[in-house]
Symmetry: none
Subunit: 212 residues, 4 copies
C-alpha cells in the first residue's frame, strides 16, 4: 500500500491518462454510444464536471483513447522485426509469441474491437489506425517477407497476403476472446495459437524445409 495518498492530491498531470484508462474500459464494454461520461469519470475517480476540464467532448475522449493505444505498440513490433537479421523462420517463431504477449498485456483487443465497431462513426480514427498501426505493421511484415523471398527463404506470392496468413489467426484469436469468451465460449490460449500457427505457416512458407 502507498502512504495514504489523499484523493484530492492526485497530481493533475496524471488526469488525462487516468481518464483514458477508465474510458478504455468503459468504451470497450459499452461501445462509444453506450458509454456514459459519468461512468468514465467515476472510474477515473473524478466528477463529470472535472472530466470536462481535460477533454472538451466525449468524442475527444474516444479519440484520445484510440490514438493513445497506437504509439507504444507499433514501435515494439518494429523493433522486433528490424532488429532481427536472423532467418525468416527464426523471426516468425519469435515474433508471433511476442505479439501474443503484447496483446495479452495491453488491451489491444478491446481497442481493436472499438475501432472495428465504430469505424463508420469515426472514419478518421479508422484512418489513423490504418495509417499508423495496421498498415505500418503489415508493411514491416511484408517487407521482411519480401526480403526473405529475395533470399529464397519464403515461397513466392503476394507478400501482403503472406502477412495476412501470418497474423490472421492471431487476430481471430483476439476477437474471439473479446467477443465469445464472455458468453461462455472456450478460453483462448493465444501463446499456444502463436506457437502452433508459427510452425504451421512456416511449414508452407519455408521453401528450404520442404526442399530438404
Amino acid at each position: 500500500m502507498m502512504a495514504e495518498e489523499p484523493r484530492w492530491r492526485r497530481r493533475k498531470e496524471d488526469r488525462p491518462g487516468d481518464i483514458c484508462a477508465a474510458a478504455l474500459q468503459v468504451f470497450a464494454e459499452k461501445g462509444f454510444a453506450g458509454a456514459r461520461i459519468e461512468e468514465i469519470a467515476r472510474r477515473a475517480g473524478l466528477s463529470k464536471g472535472t472530466l470536462y476540464l481535460y477533454f472538451p467532448t466525449k468524442e475527444a475522449v474516444f479519440r484520445a483513447v484510440v490514438r493513445d493505444a497506437v504509439a507504444p505498440n507499433i514501435e515494439v513490433i518494429r523493433q522486433t522485426v528490424l532488429a532481427s537479421d536472423q532467418p525468416f523462420d527464426e523471426l516468425v517463431r519469435m515474433l508471433l509469441p511476442r505479439v501474443a504477449e503484447i496483446i495479452t498485456a495491453v488491451p489491444l483487443g478491446a481497442v481493436l474491437k472499438m475501432v472495428v465497431g465504430e469505424s463508420r462513426n469515426f472514419p478518421e480514427l479508422a484512418k489513423v489506425w490504418h495509417d499508423d498501426v495496421v498498415l505500418k505493421a503489415v508493411t514491416i511484415l511484408s517487407d521482411a517477407i519480401e526480403n526473405a523471398q529475395d533470399r529464397g527463404e519464403v515461397r513466392p506470392g503476394d507478400s501482403r497476403i503472406h502477412a495476412f496468413s501470418l497474423v490472421g489467426p492471431m487476430l481471430l484469436g483476439v476477437l474471439w476472446r473479446e467477443t465469445f469468451t464472455p458468453v461462455g465460449a472456450a478460453e483462448i490460449d493465444l501463446p499456444a495459437i502463436a506457437r502452433q500457427h508459427a510452425e504451421t505457416v512456416l511449414g508452407g512458407l519455408s521453401i528450404a524445409e520442404k526442399a530438404g
Copy 2:
C-alpha cells in the same frame, strides 16, 4: 421499373424482410446505438410508425437482423465439408474460395462487425452467433482436420488451432475490408487471399508433400 407504383399496397409479407435489409445497412454503418429507427424505416420505404407494426422495439429489429444472417450460411459450409470425401488438401482448396464467395455475396462481414462491436451490449446475440455459427463452423472444420490427421494427411497439433490457421486470414480480410477500405485502404481481394492462403497453409499442414 413498374409503372407508377401506388404509394402503398398490401404487402405485409414483404415488410419484415425489407426492414431487416434496411436495418442491416444502417446498423452496419452506425452501430446499434447510432442507428435511428426513422432512418431504417425511411430506407425500407415506410414510416416510423409502420416499422413498429412489425417489430416491437429497436432491439428486436437488431436481433432479427443478426439472427437472420445465421441460418442460411452455416448450412452451406456444412454441406461443402461433409459432401467431400476428397483428400484434405483438395477440400481446403475448394473450401476457402467457397467461403470467400459467400462472404462476398452476403453481408456477413457487416453482421460480423455488428456482433463483435455489440457483443457486450447484446451478449445473447454473441451467444447465438457463437453457438450456431462460429462454433459449428469451427467444429465442422476441426472434425475434418482430425479425420485427416487420422489418415496421416495433416500434421499433428490441436485441431481447433489448425482451424484458426485455416480461416483466420479470411476473417482478417473481411474485417479489414469492412473497417479500412471505406477510409482509403487498398481493396481486399478475398478470392486471392483464399487461393494463396490455401497453398500457404497446406504447405505446412500436408505432411505428405513434405515427406515427398
Copy 3:
C-alpha cells in the same frame, strides 16, 4: 342459443350501442387516456376502422358513453319519488334499496368514477352530469324533503344537506366497491347499507318518531 347469427350480419343499427357498451367497460378499467380505441373496437366485435364509421373521435365515444348513462336512470328516480304520496319515512325505506338495485344493475358506479376522474378534462361532461343527473336527483330529493318538512315529518335544516345525508353513504359504498374491492378490500353489500342507513338516517330526520 340463437340460430348461428353470422358475425357480418349484425345489424348496423345496433353498432353504436355495442360500441358504447364495450367502451364503457374499457373506459371504466383504464380511464379515458388509458383506453385504446382498438380494444374498444375488438370488444365490440368490429375493427378499428369500422368504429370510425360510427364515431368521429375517441372523445365522441366517451361523450356518448357518459351521456347514454344519464337518461335511463334519472327517470327511474323521478318516477319513484314523484309517484309517492306516502309518508317520508316510507319513501326513504323504499327509495334507498331501489337506488341500491339500480346501482347494482347498471354500471353507474363505473360511469360515476369516469365522470369524477375526467371532470377536468371534459368539463362539459361534468356539466351534463351535474345538470341532468346529479342536480335533478338532488332537487327531486330536496323537494320531497321540503314537502315533508312542511308536513312536520322531517326536522328543519338545509334540505340539500339532508339529501346528502340520505344518499351520501350509498355513493361512498359504490365508489368503495369500484375502487377498493378490486384490490382486496371487503365486499360491499349495498342493499344492506341501504336498509341500515335508511333506519339510521330516518331516526334522525323523523321528528315524529322522536317526539313520540
Copy 4:
C-alpha cells in the same frame, strides 16, 4: 420576496417537495395520463431534465404524490378519536367538523379523486390508500361505534355501515366540490354539512335521545 433570486441555487432538498406540490396540481387537473411531465416541471420552476434527477419516472412522481398525502392526515383522525373518552355524540359533533377542516386545508379531495380515477391503472396505490388510509379511518370509527354500542349509546347494527352513515355525506361533499363546482355547480359548504349531518345522524344513532 427576496431581492433578485439567482436563476438557480443549490436547493436540492426542496426539490422533491416542490415537484410533488406541482405534480399534485397537474395530476388533479389532468389525471395521470393527461399530465405532462414538462408542465409539472415548469410549475415546479425547473426543467424537464431536472425533474428526472429526483424521480426516475412519471409513475414515481405520481406514487410519491399519492403516498405523501397519506401519512400526515390519518394520524390526526386517530388522535382525535382516541383522545376522546367523551360520549359518542360529543365525539361525532367534534369529529365531523374536524374532518371538514382537514379536507379543506389539505388537498385531500384532489388526491382522493386521483385514487378513485386511477385505481385500475395503479392498483397498488389503491391498495396503499385502502390499507393505510381508508381502512384505518373506518376501523377507528367502527371501533368507537362498537364501544358506544356496548355502552348503550348507539343503536345496534353493523358498525362499519354506521361508519359509512357517519362519513359518507362528507365524502360526497368533497367529490361534489372537486367535480361539479368547477363547472358551475353551487359551492359546497363542508363545515355546514358536517354540523347538520352530525345532528341528523346522531338523532338516529343515539338511542338515549329517543328513549328520552
